[in-house]
């Protein structure tokens, strides 16, 4: 099988094994390493239809990049880095690229497990989803339930969700069950601009728009009972999946630092094929400033999902009672957009994950004790109205992808075409006909996120499983969705 060649719009792809394809470094004079994509032929067809692989080749030109620029099977065209892209740069002098993290720093997902089944929920389903929609503001300028002073915001930027515990928002167990304990090291509030502070100060506890959501789900099928038990999941059980990020604060951090790096990279002799890849050595003043601001924004995002989870628990308390709220336990919280210093292949590297999820296997020191024997939980949201998956990290992720797996289904269709294909009202009717409760203030926003605008999440997940990056633990089906 190895050696099979497929042409993309830009270069020839060589098949390395069942699920891995490569554009050799020699295909372009400026590539420092190969570009590799995890996919099968069918997914590859969708992937090569856009500019995702050309963007991946651009990533392969970053100074200090090691091994290969990688794309997960949900990869699609982004605005510099492809969404679903992974790049590791050697420290101390390999570069950090804010575009390799993206505007929504630490966009990610948090899964809550409720202490009751869908059957037990019964007629409370619609009132519960409605209560979620009342409890969670979505929009820009839609201020959340928390108004923070400047000092309080800085504490959130420094410490993440830990800073909210004193307000009764979340508990210690939530922190343990959050990637990096909910706090990236090196965060400096002073590295976050006044404008970013201004955008963020009222947005803690808001979901945002686009593909962000809060979804009530039922565990439809368990594939790995040992891991599911460790995660606290069983068939028929209710879960809530929260997808959001660092809101305007993180967006502004990216905006600020892309511009700074765009202005200084020539000083470091860096020439790039795409201005949005603007970067500087991680050890440079500009690189260190970005990493300090990015960590602060990431901590804000962890705290934001903590505040959203608190709102969900409060809604559960109002509809189902205090016992149900108290026993609603966080399964885990994972980041999709972040750069982290990790050790791979015996060296320190800065792993950029842009629309990709850390997926460390069993035995990794960074995952909580409850999960140490089964691997880190990973959550893969499907498109609206379709299944989502709970995965566990596998050893292949460390061997092949810097401890990374996919993050979602991956778009295949533009928002414009999705809107032209189906109206929001019609889509709402279709979802409701499937028994899914929908709360979304904008029909336009709904149609842009139509299920057919995405790849089949089951297919995407099957590739990362075959590739040995992560294995399926459980499948979740939607009962209700709240969108911004």
């Amino acid at each position: 099988m190895s050696g099979t060649v497929v042409s993309s719009s830009t270069s020839e792809l060589v098949q390395l094994d069942d699920t891995l394809w490569e554009i050799p470094a020699a295909s372009r004079a400026d590539m420092r390493v190969p570009a590799r994509v995890f996919a099968d032929r069918e997914l590859l067809e969708a992937i090569t239809a856009g500019r995702a692989l050309e963007q991946l080749q651009n990533v392969a030109t970053l100074p200090g990049i090691v091994d290969a620029a990688l794309a997960m099977p949900d990869v699609h065209q982004g605005y510099g880095f492809p969404v679903g892209g992974v790049a590791a740069t050697a420290l101390p002098d390999g570069v950090v690229s804010p575009g390799g993290v993206g505007y929504d720093i630490n966009c990610g997902v948090r899964l809550l497990a409720l202490p009751l089944s869908a059957e037990e929920l019964g007629a409370h389903c619609e009132p519960l989803v409605h209560e979620f929609s009342r409890a969670i503001p979505a929009g820009a300028g839609k201020h959340g339930p928390l108004r923070l002073s400047s000092d309080e915001l800085d504490e959130v930027l420094r410490a993440g969700p830990q800073a909210l515990l004193a307000r009764g928002i979340g508990c210690e167990d939530d922190l343990v069950r959050t990637e990096s304990g909910g706090c990236l090291p090196g965060a400096e509030p002073g590295a976050v601009s006044a404008r970013a502070h201004e955008r963020g100060c009222g947005q803690l506890g808001t979901a945002g728009s686009g593909n962000h959501f809060i979804e009530l789900q039922r565990v439809d099928r368990v594939f790995d009972r040992t891991a599911a038990d460790a995660f606290g999941l069983g068939e028929g059980q209710l879960t809530v999946l929260i997808h959001s990020g660092s809101r305007g604060l993180g967006h502004q951090v990216c905006t600020d630092h892309v511009r700074i790096m765009d202005a200084v990279q020539a000083r470091y002799g860096i020439v790039l094929p795409d201005r949005q890849l603007a970067c500087a050595p991680a050890s440079s003043p500009e690189g260190r400033a970005y990493l300090a601001a990015m960590a602060a924004a990431a901590n804000f995002a962890f705290a934001n999902r903590q505040a959203l989870a608190h709102a969900v628990r409060e809604a559960i308390r109002r509809v189902l009672g205090p016992n149900a709220a108290r026993a609603t336990r966080q399964v885990y919280d994972v980041a999709h957009n972040v750069a982290k210093v990790e050790q791979h292949g015996g060296r320190d590297v800065l792993v950029h994950r842009k629309g990709a999820t850390r997926a460390f296997p069993a035995g990794s020191v960074e995952i909580p004790g409850d999960f140490a024997h089964v691997g880190q939980p990973v959550f893969i949201p499907g498109s609206m109205g379709t299944s989502s998956y709970v995965l566990a990290g596998e050893p292949g992720s460390l061997e092949r992808s810097f401890g990374t797996t996919c993050h979602g289904a991956g778009r295949t269709m533009s928002r414009t075409r999705a809107r032209a294909t189906i109206g929001g009202a019609e889509l709402r009717r279709q979802l409701e006909a499937q028994g899914i409760v929908v709360r979304c203030p904008s029909n336009r926003g709904l149609s842009e996120e139509a299920p057919f605008a995405y790849k089949d999440v089951g297919h995407v997940v099957s590739i990362v499983e075959r590739a040995g990056l992560a294995r399926r633990v459980a499948r979740l089906v939607p009962l209700g969705v709240v969108k911004g």
């Binding site: 065209q77 982004g78 510099g80 505007y103 929009g139 269709m413």
Partner: protein, 143 residues
């Protein structure tokens, strides 16, 4: 870059969305540079405007920069910032003065409930250039 286009007698500022598998890409066209900023504003309004109108507002925007492409990004970033912190939804430019290194504008709009769709304005595929007597711009929004 934009192909051979015969310019019409007058080109009102206009925009059209381009197929993009992940984000929102838009091409802008106008008969002069100021018109590109107007077309960019129209695009932003189309992306964020909600249903309800609020009280009328007028804001002043002052920007500095020699690079027109970056000035276009700064323009949209300023509109994005005002939308988030002031809930300002722009309608149109009342006055604009574009010099070599500065942009001064008065923008008319209203306080509304802008959609929180746009996260950032990327430098990817960014363009601002004249071809065949017509000005063209291109912007990719992260959404």
């Amino acid at each position: 870059m934009f192909g051979d286009m015969t310019p019409p007698a007058r080109v009102a500022p206009q925009h059209h969305f381009v197929e993009h598998g992940g984000e929102v890409e838009v091409e802008l066209e106008a008969e002069d540079e100021a018109g590109i900023f107007a077309a960019a504003l129209d695009t932003f309004t189309e992306l964020v405007a909600g249903n309800a109108d609020g009280e009328s507002m007028e804001i002043q925007i002052g920007l500095r920069g020699r690079d027109r492409t970056l000035l276009l990004v700064d323009w949209l970033n300023e509109l994005l910032f005002r939308a988030e912190v002031e809930q300002f939804v722009p309608r149109h430019i009342k006055a604009i003065e574009l010099e070599d290194e500065t942009l001064q504008a008065t923008v008319v709009g209203y306080r509304g409930t802008p959609r929180p769709l746009v996260k950032g304005v990327a430098l990817n595929r960014l363009a601002f250039e004249q071809e065949g007597g017509v000005w063209h711009g291109r912007v990719v929004f992260d959404v």
